[in-house]
Amino acid sequence: MNWEAFWLTVRLAALVSTLLIAIGIPIAYWLTYSRWRWKFLIEAAVALPIVLPPTVLGFYVLVALGSRSPLGRWWESLTGHTLAFTFEGLVVGSLLYSLPFAVQPFATSFGAVDRKLLQASASLGHSPVQTFRRVVIPLSKTGLVTGFALSFAHTLGEFGVVLMVGGNIPGVTRTISIDIYDQVQTANYSSANQTALVLLVISFVVLSIVYGVNRRPWVVSPWR
């Protein structure tokens, strides 16, 4: 079991899912309440990473954000290095890769809040931002937990993007899925087995949390 790779991956997943709360909430808010007629295009764009192969994302991060592109040169002048082969590079790739897994549960739960409550809040003098903070967010806790957990789990299991842009640097970009791949390729099955089992258990626990918070109360306690 490669603990360095394990903690690196947990750090990556925790950072990405936390950032996605900050980035995802405004996007989900806009997607829920906007009446723009072309909104469906943005919805499609946000959902893209669900269907796009990770290799496409990896390719874009390498080439479109590489040192041959204007965007890549701008990043390089800012930080002194390219995005590929760095922890930040993995964070950027993972943010894109896991975006829909945060935004969609957020948007679904925002949309499920009864509009009458929003009107009541507005009529009591709250601004839209106050209403959002005091009414929508508390009523959307389940969706927020779901989005956080799903993006965490999805980042934990990320492989293709990391294989393409990571460069397999121990402690920097060698994530747990890459470690498992290396172990399997060198026929080191017992080590691969241990690591795979840890990942399996964590993924199961995270998904159990997701389904647990989303369960209908009466399933567990019919007398309520």
Partner: protein, 263 residues
């Protein structure tokens, strides 16, 4: 028999026929430019179609152990085919050392480094923020690169800047795309049309790393032993060796008349 069922039967026969004829070759990533050309020439000559699958030699070896349906295996390192033979996955009499691979230090055209003057020491220049190599665990070129860096005594100075490609093609792609500033890759990639005009290279002297003896073997589980052996024999023809040479492969010093070990 209706026309439709005749047609269906015909198509099934065609498909079965094609499947029986085609052979599948697993090849080291350093052959990714040369081998398709060899196959083109071979197919034109004999009608035999060949499917190609590239990867790090170690990865392919592991896939073969786990039942990958390949007929021939081209390795960048003779150890892997020998392991497979010892484990009963390769036919010993078919082992053929077809070439010797060369390791080169490659930089893109826009690099300020003067390779002819600096040689391997170019890697110590601060402009080299990342340098790419293949994964030493699975790729012979990765092991050669690590050995060469140790040979010149600069491994420890370089190690924090190393990025590791899954195979030597990915190591080449990391520099070609500008994400790494230098790399130790296969000469066959440096000479391939995709990279030829994009950079310069310095050939790492042969005494700096264990010789990359490339070897091919027909796999024991192949159902097309004859077709596989014929393809392997094609590599001994002057036409094939000329093409390999044009991609920077040198020929093994001593060529056994029929199969056998090299060196």
């Amino acid at each position: 028999m209706t026309l439709l069922s005749k047609l269906t039967a015909f198509l099934i026969l065609c498909a079965a026929n094609a499947a029986a004829q085609e052979i599948t070759v697993a090849a080291a990533a350093d052959m990714s430019a040369a081998l398709p050309q060899l196959v083109d020439a071979y197919t034109k000559k004999t009608g035999q179609t060949v499917k190609l699958s590239f990867g790090a030699s170690g990865n392919l070896t592991n896939q073969i152990r786990n039942g990958a349906p390949f007929d021939v295996f081209f390795s960048a390192d003779e150890d892997y085919p020998q392991q497979l033979i010892a484990e009963g996955f390769g036919s010993k009499d078919t082992l053929y050392g077809y070439a010797v691979g060369r390791l080169v230090l490659w930089v893109p055209n826009d690099s300020p480094l003067d390779l002819s003057k600096l040689g391997i020491k170019a890697l110590l220049d601060p402009s080299v923020k990342k340098m790419s190599v293949a994964n030493p665990a699975t790729a012979p070129y990765g092991r050669a690169a690590a050995a060469a860096l140790r040979h010149f005594g600069i491994y420890d100075q370089i190690s924090s800047r190393l990025v590791v490609g899954e195979n030597v093609s990915q190591a080449a792609q990391f520099i070609e795309s500008g994400n790494a500033q230098a790399g130790l890759i296969a000469l066959s990639h440096a000479l391939a049309p995709a990279m030829k005009d994009k950079g310069r290279y310095w050939t790492v002297p042969l005494d700096a790393y264990p010789t990359l003896n490339q070897a091919a073997v027909v796999l024991a589980k192949s159902k097309q032993q004859d077709a596989a052996r014929k393809f392997l024999n094609f590599l001994r023809t002057p036409e094939a060796t000329a093409l390999l040479t044009s991609y920077g492969f040198s020929l093994p010093l001593e060529k056994p008349a029929n199969g056998g070990r090299m060196k």
